[in-house]
Symmetry: C2
Subunit: 331 residues, 2 copies
DNA sequence: AACTTTTCTGCAACCGATCTCAGCAACCGA
DNA sequence: TCGGTTGCTGAGATCGGTTGCAGAAAAGTT
């Protein structure tokens, strides 16, 4: 038995379908007794409104696309989880769009969601975002990017403060006595990744260290491999490494292990992201934690804001240090 | 500029909208010149059909829900990735429904997708599936479960052969000289989890070993914690452990590390799933690999089959052993 | 009591497609 | 030349809702 249509409910309740419609979508516009009667009849018939028909007529749906490059990456998975909750709280339904980092796929998803009358979109990029590209694709400014964009770009963003995050990591290592601290960037070409790397350079020099940037090329399994190789071969081996994100940290620790170096025994590592997965890695990963849940909530708020004609905003959140077991005092 | 409607295209091409409709959805029913002309005009206007209107009228959409309990779990993430590709190949669009393991959420998602006229659904459960529950929720038999169900249940399923998988793991460890091999189950209450555990018991006894089942209670971070504790305290300590899934293996290795035991130095561990993430764990995890991509493709095929009135089928795939570095000959 | 205002409900057009049916033209064989 | 096919297109109802408008009923004013 499929759900009855609005006309069937109307007939059963002895009213016109427009009244049934109002009983649900604009309750205050219909007399209380009528409304309650209709609701009751509807409930007893197992009626629920067709979101399709609704969206078709009103040109607005509750679908909110979250565009991510790779759901297999735990960072995006956690983001998806957080955003699902955040969207749900505000009455939206998140639709995950996994692009595999393909621009065409992104465009297709955006077109499709546009056709479904999604009120706005949220994008968590892997590479640098060129807003103009998206504006032409229909959403205009009605989207939020979880990354920084070129200053002056008219698109709302949410990010975590890279400088603070790197400073947190560095200070933690300093306190443990480390003075030679290398950096492995993520391979991602986002502004955020570049910012973290830049922050490392600046802060390292400010603290009188010479920055040591490890080779972070290589994708997937290979990530961290080259960095480990380089680290091992270094004459004056750093005693600690800051990774641009947790996944790189995992790869680095793994590769280091294969080369007989233990973390934190031989070298301390701190990641960036603060993934839950880091709690069950070996060793549990000390990391700069991004407030992912909050980012999700803010992304939805900003999106609603621009969708309602409000101002574009750039929100920068403060990260916290999550100390677990991959760091240790230098001996 | 939003995309034009079918009527605008019809007007521009000088034909009736029904002809435009046919030019796209039933091309052979319209004269070639007319069709080409329409297509050209449509393309020049940037026209694309509204999937909403289409679905509303035909009562069929290309949306395929994949219901998973937790996208943060890399197994489900990889499944989602594989299914997205598999669905795309067949012209469907996967919609990820993350339930956080909540029955209500599952029901809501299924209802919503039903309302969107999804042709069928795919479910990857965390707990045991009771088909009756779903049948009543509209999809009838038009769904596929990525797990075993009670024999006799009229729902198509795809699974990997648990017995073969466990045998693969055990044989690998035997060859390395291990004779005392424990087992840590996943906490999941699926049939598959139970099957793996049962397979372990049976096969261990067949090979003349007494099964040692470690406590696998505890969720999230805690998973593996208890097992590690128990393992360490065991009088006759096993030299190897088979884990019911990779995530548990990660947790176990992590907890073992915190207790000063190294893998594979002190104990060998083999996981079950063969996640890509295992390649960058410390140490890289030896695991029984599920052919996830193939499972995705088969799930779609089975779903299409029952949706077209075809027979319910139970497909069992063979896993392979993926040898990485978490196992080593016993000393 | 008469008039104005407010509240509530019905009517019917509309969103953007699909699809059955009917009509028209061209074609066919006898 | 005519009845019968066949191929192609248009008309219009339909999917399941929303909403501006109009009119009836109820409430408020003087």
């Amino acid at each position: 038995m499929s759900t009855p249509s609005i006309d069937e409910v109307a007939a059963a309740a002895g009213v016109h379908r427009s009244t049934v419609s109002r009983a649900f979508s604009r309750p205050e516009a219909v007399k209380r007794e009528t409304r309650e009667h209709i609701r009751q009849v509807a409930a007893s018939m197992g009626y629920r409104m067709s979101p399709l028909a609704q969206a078709l007529r009103t040109k607005v749906s509750t679908l909110v696309p979250l565009v991510v490059p790779d759901i297999t990456n735990p960072y995006f998975a956690e983001l998806a989880k957080a955003m699902t909750a955040a969207a749900g709280e505000r009455g939206y339904q998140l639709v995950l769009c996994v692009t595999e980092n393909d621009a065409d796929a992104t465009a297709r998803y955006l077109d499709a969601m546009q056709a479904m009358y999604a009120p706005f979109a949220v994008i968590a990029p892997y590479a640098r975002v060129f807003p103009a590209e998206f504006e032409s694709r229909g959403f205009g400014k009605r989207l939020v990017v979880i990354d920084r964009v070129e200053s002056g770009d008219q698109i709302s963003t949410v990010t975590v403060d890279s400088a603070t995050g790197i400073a947190l990591a560095l200070d933690h290592l300093f306190e443990l006595g480390h003075t030679s601290i290398a950096y492995v960037s993520g391979i991602a070409g986002t502004h955020t990744a570049a910012d973290r790397c830049q922050a490392y350079r600046t802060l390292a020099e400010e603290r009188g260290m010479t920055p040591i940037e490890l080779d972070s090329s290589g994708i997937g399994v290979g990530a961290g491999e080259r960095a480990a190789e380089e680290l091992v071969s270094l004459r004056e081996r750093p005693t600690a490494v800051v990774a641009g994100n947790d996944l790189v940290a995992f790869g680095l620790i793994s590769s280091l292990g294969s080369r007989g170096m233990s973390v934190p025994g031989d070298v301390s590592v701190v990641g960036f992201d603060g993934l839950a997965l880091g709690a069950r890695s070996n060793p549990p990963l000390t990391s700069v934690q991004q407030p992912i849940a909050e980012m999700g909530r803010i992304a939805i708020r900003l999106a609603e804001q621009v969708a309602n004609g409000g101002p574009v905003e750039h929100v920068v959140l403060q990260p916290q240090l999550l100390v677990r077991s991959s760091t240790r005092p230098v001996r």
